[in-house]
Symmetry: C2
Amino acid sequence: MRIITLGPKGTFSHEAVMEYNELAEISFKSTVWDIFEGVNAKEGELGVVPIENSVTGSVGFTLDALLHFNLHIKAETVLPIKHNLAGSEKLDQIKVVYAHPQSHAQCKTFLRTKVPEAEIIDTSSNAKSAELLSRQKEPGYAAIVPNIASQIYNLSLLEKNIQDHKFNVTRFVVITEKDSTKSTGRDKTSLVLYPVADRPGILCDMLEVFKERNINLTKIESRPSGKLGDYIFYIDCEGHREDPGVIEALHKLETHSAFLKILGSYPKRC
Amino acid sequence: MRIITLGPKGTFSHEAVMEYNELAEISFKSTVWDIFEGVNAKEGELGVVPIENSVTGSVGFTLDALLHFNLHIKAETVLPIKHNLAGSEKLDQIKVVYAHPQSHAQCKTFLRTKVPEAEIIDTSSNAKSAELLSRQKEPGYAAIVPNIASQIYNLSLLEKNIQDHKFNVTRFVVITEKDSTKSTGRDKTSLVLYPVADRPGILCDMLEVFKERNINLTKIESRPSGKLGDYIFYIDCEGHREDPGVIEALHKLETHSAFLKILGSYPKRC
């Protein structure tokens, strides 16, 4: 089994793949789009991509790729995002911290209170921060890194779980070419739709379709359809696309939609 | 007038401030949160922050800060996001391209077709790409840069507008301490709400409040309230918070909300 995910080695995506299937062979790509292309071209059976973080929200590149490619979501997996400060000196000796800008922002309180004098140097990925630290020969350097990167680069950790939000989690989805999941009784269905008209109440009418059938929505998000103010909706609802209530709802929804695409039904993990 | 925005000098945020008020004194911060703190601490009268891109969607850090700080949106401004390839050689001589990962992803088609052999080196900001190129003495280097960065670093452009989506725009909001905008007859109101209960139909009931009063929504977005599956909603509707219909709708909405915060009313630009 080969799984394609976001590299380089040592990213949170890498960690998510290990959680999902630790025996898989992993190949790394540098963008979400490349992962979708890889699965589409059968370079790997599955792709694992981040779709939503509990602190920073949806990953736009993934939503766009789900709309563009004819691939399906077959599973979701939720990974706690734990940042650590790697380094081999005492906190008060740290002069420079390598950090990805998003990790920097997520560990603001720690950085300000524990290493207030340190200069923060931006890096292009969490794995890169680890790599830079591992090659640094001078004293006074540290880096914000995921667990997996500290293992790969053999770094010692000064402090664990330094993120501001202790319940910081990222939801990843597993994408595949063939849509073949069966109803388990505790599923979710993800879909994208574009309403027939931009008029007051159109979204309300669409949501009524779910309400009338007592189907709970676990997510709704609007994204600009290429221009601002004109939106596509990404909806996750409870139930499997083969459940009678969901079949009926989807059928009804089509009458309100200029475009409706089912991204997949899969077991609910959150 | 001092305006605080996202640095370093030469970012799209810098360009947005110049569009909004080219005479302002600008101070740069390295995160969105720092901008909010700066405005809160009266280091500047206004802050300018990106809130939504037509290709990549909402900027989570901005939505979170709007919820956390007691500041107000007083205006919006929309900036076309134009990427350029800077360099001084011919395309077929380019061996390395400096690019921020998001810009890399947004210019994928150009990079693949025009400089397929070039190595792409990730940088931490678009301004950084420009700076790196300006200091590079070796031949064969190029960088993806915004217009403003090419001017600041005095770079020549090999190709303009190399982004895949030609209508790539970012919406910025102007934040301030005092909420004092008056109704202009063509306004928008931004609010955040957290429903009283997680039950099928609660979102539908909330949206009905707008539908009944014929108030168009220009945006709706759900964001995890710290845990996945439990959402806060960010809504932009047409009208000013002092317009009778909007006053009534907000009043009604409160009965469906555990929490309701009005972020501001301001003239509609998109």
